[in-house]
């Protein structure tokens, strides 16, 4: 019962924060409500008993990506102009609503085979065994490491002064 209340609070706050990001004209406040949205997503992970992912979400998104975004907002000095919508606002709205309708219809009419086994808790050790164990995702992890290195080098090269 407590998990249900937590889910509803987190869901409503998260959706309102995401709407604020999209609808607000002030870029800096949009970034702040994006951080709130990331925090509620971390809470949603906790209600799904994914504790490791909640910690990663707070570390990477709330701690890292938010700082990057706020830094970019400060460096570009576009705050005065705000975030106006383009000419395609109404078609974009129609596309988004249509997408939401189609996806909701599809997933409400699909007979999901919900399993009754309780979730594994805590997930950190189980995730590590899955990732690094026999038949795991070692190659994917190596590729992810190379991707991160390439992204860091690429970002430095792109923003470097000539």
């Amino acid at each position: 019962m407590g998990a249900d209340i937590a889910f509803w609070i987190l869901a409503i706050v998260g959706v309102v924060a995401a709407l604020t990001v999209v609808l607000l004209r002030d870029v800096f406040r949009a970034a702040l409500s994006l951080i709130l949205c990331f925090l509620t997503v971390a809470g949603i992970y906790i209600t799904l008993s994914a504790d490791f992912l909640a910690a990663v979400q707070i570390l990477v998104y709330v701690g890292g990506i938010s700082v990057l975004i706020i830094l970019a907002i400060m460096l570009t000095r576009e705050v005065q102009k705000g975030s106006p919508t383009g000419k395609l606002r109404i078609p974009a709205f129609i596309v988004a609503v249509l997408f939401l309708g189609v996806v909701s219809f599809a997933l409400l009419n699909t007979p999901w085979q919900v399993s009754t086994t309780p979730p594994t808790e805590p997930t950190t050790a189980a995730l590590a065994i899955k990732l690094f164990g026999e038949g795991g995702f070692i190659l994917a992890i190596e590729i992810a490491a190379v991707l991160l290195l390439a992204a860091i080098l690429g970002a430095i090269v792109i923003v470097r002064e000539k």
Binding site: T76, T120, A151
Partner: protein
Amino acid sequence: MSVGLEHYLILSAVLFSIGLYGALAKRNAIIILMSIEIMLNAVNIAMVAFSRYIVPAMLTGQIFTVFIIVVAAAEAAVGLAIIIAIYRNRETIDATEIDLMKR
């Protein structure tokens, strides 16, 4: 009615649609990038919900989510670097005015 798989999937779809609208309608490039982050988070919620309710013992969705977070971090770093470079060259990050390749 207690919260189940459908609730999480609907929440994910709503967040994805909000991000889709922002990515299509906004002109500020940073806001577009923020909308893409919202969309990635919505997909992560769907992944973790499937992992929790369909295959609770296998954790496959959570592993996919870890990789999505890695790629999203790389994407945010490179995307913001590109935006700063564009701003340095053209003094604007309005997505409708960055049309060098259309002329």
